[in-house]
């Protein structure tokens, strides 16, 4: 498996991280180094082995389906880069 420039660009797009065109070849090379290392996993016989979902064998706890906290829009918005009239503000999403 070898990752080319176009695949690197696609992955960057999926991850929503802007990568300049001239940085793509080096990025592709790094991916190849890491994936080359990961390739070893192909040697392992995993026939019939369940993929791990949780490391601790326990049932997830349930709780009452009730509101526990809330009613604090000021606190929720206090760290927002742009908040207006009680909402998070973002660039126009829908034309």
């Amino acid at each position: 498996m070898s990752i080319d420039k176009d695949t690197a660009a696609k992955v960057a797009k999926l991850a929503r991280i802007r990568v300049e065109e001239d940085a793509l070849p080096a990025l592709a090379q790094e991916f190849n180094d890491i994936l080359g290392f990961i390739e070893q996993l192909a040697e392992v016989d995993v026939e019939g082995v369940e993929p791990m979902t949780g490391v601790t064998p326990m049932r997830l706890k349930r709780r009452e389906d009730v509101v526990t906290e809330g009613g604090m829009p000021d606190k929720i918005l206090s760290n927002a880069p742009d908040a207006r009239e009680g909402f998070f503000a973002v660039p126009k999403v829908v034309e």
Partner: protein, 495 residues
Amino acid sequence: MSELSKLTISAARDALRKGDVTSLELTESCLSDIEGAGALNAFVHHTPDLARDQAKAADERIRGGDAPDMCGIPLGIKDLFCTRGVPSQAASAILNGFRPEYESTVTQNLFDAGAVMLGKLNMDEFAMGSSNETSCYGNAVNPWRRGNDEAALTPGGSSGGSASAVAADLCLAATGTDTGGSIRQPAAFTGITGIKPTYGRCSRWGIVAFASSLDQAGPMTKDVRDAAIMLEAMCSHDPKDSTSVDIPVPDFEAMLTGDVKGKVIGIPREYHMEGMPEEIEKLWSDGTAMLRDAGAEIRDISLPHTKYALPAYYVIAPAEASSNLARYDGVRYGHRAKLEQGDGITEMYEKTRAEGFGDEVKRRVMVGTYVLSAGFYDAYYNRARKVRTLIKRDFEQVFGDGVDAILTPATPSSAFGLGEMKDADPVQMYLNDVFTVTVNLAGLPGISVPAGLDKQGLPLGLQLIGRPWEEGDLLNTAYALEQAAGFVAKPGKWW
């Protein structure tokens, strides 16, 4: 350097209770040592006013009698923990200016027990790194040096600031977190003790998430007794973390008898790595002899899937990171990129994340995105999760055969120079975690204990791995090892 900040938690606790010292005196002593230790770059946000207020409250509580063990103890807190009203940015520029409106459960537990926070500690960005070189605050520096060589060494990572601060006596102890070795490796590099408890012992609520199925908090301390005291204060069942376990937290300190007679200690043959320095091999065999002399039975064991732990980790951890770090989008907190005319929301995400994340974080997020993407999910992510099942099974088998704890080196080398790995490919850096990462994948408790110095005069650590939920027994074995090793060396002050 004053004498007070050199105290262990247990010595300070006893002195506080006797009235020989006040928490305010301890706190002032640490604050002045921190002031003079800028060269270590361990503390990155200072909270002296909060510390003094907490210390005064602790002194009052101690005077009233019946104060918990951690009452009045000045601590450093890793920047990964959200602390109310205090900058908490996981050493990332993308969380510039973030001041949480809430407190992590672990720090809340510590504060409820009366502990004092001196400030926030340096670390690798989002805990991704083994040398503290990916931090947006710059490198933390190891107080240890190679003899008279002035070259700056790494304190390890990701909890590098915590390790540096404790080793340099800037605080009595510190919190750390460990996803692949981030408590145990820096502890080993700086001659201190660090324990990662069983997955689920400490609540992850309010700790900035890296890889949720692997992350655990733990204490970084000057000795094993302190690790027992502080771990107990950090642990709790927490309804806000669905993976936190609802079982009683024992009195770990009371379990430190130093008696390991009849305990079975496993020595895994797969941990004899090719090219491992002679000194590490020797340290390991010396440690084995110490436990044998203390009455433990030594048994050679096999953990056949060890070799695949690092590659499995470098699928699972980036996959989880790519999901967890999706939240840094420039909308709710932290950095947002300046936008050009006509930029829409996608440009906002892409520019914000390109500016806010450092190179290693970007790399891991993208690797994670790749291994989770359509067409590769089965080949990489599902396969890695199956290998993880096998790694855990390896441990279950040896524990099932009667092994009580497993002894290994903590790291494949002593601390290396800052910048020395600059030209290495990322995988070379990942190899630092070769002995520690299996423990996270299997969810087990692991502790690093300082056990000797190499010929450059740098500390080396041994790791003990225990059965799930048996941190008390593990700490006791570590205590026996600590007593036998008699490690008392301290870095000479140059900062």
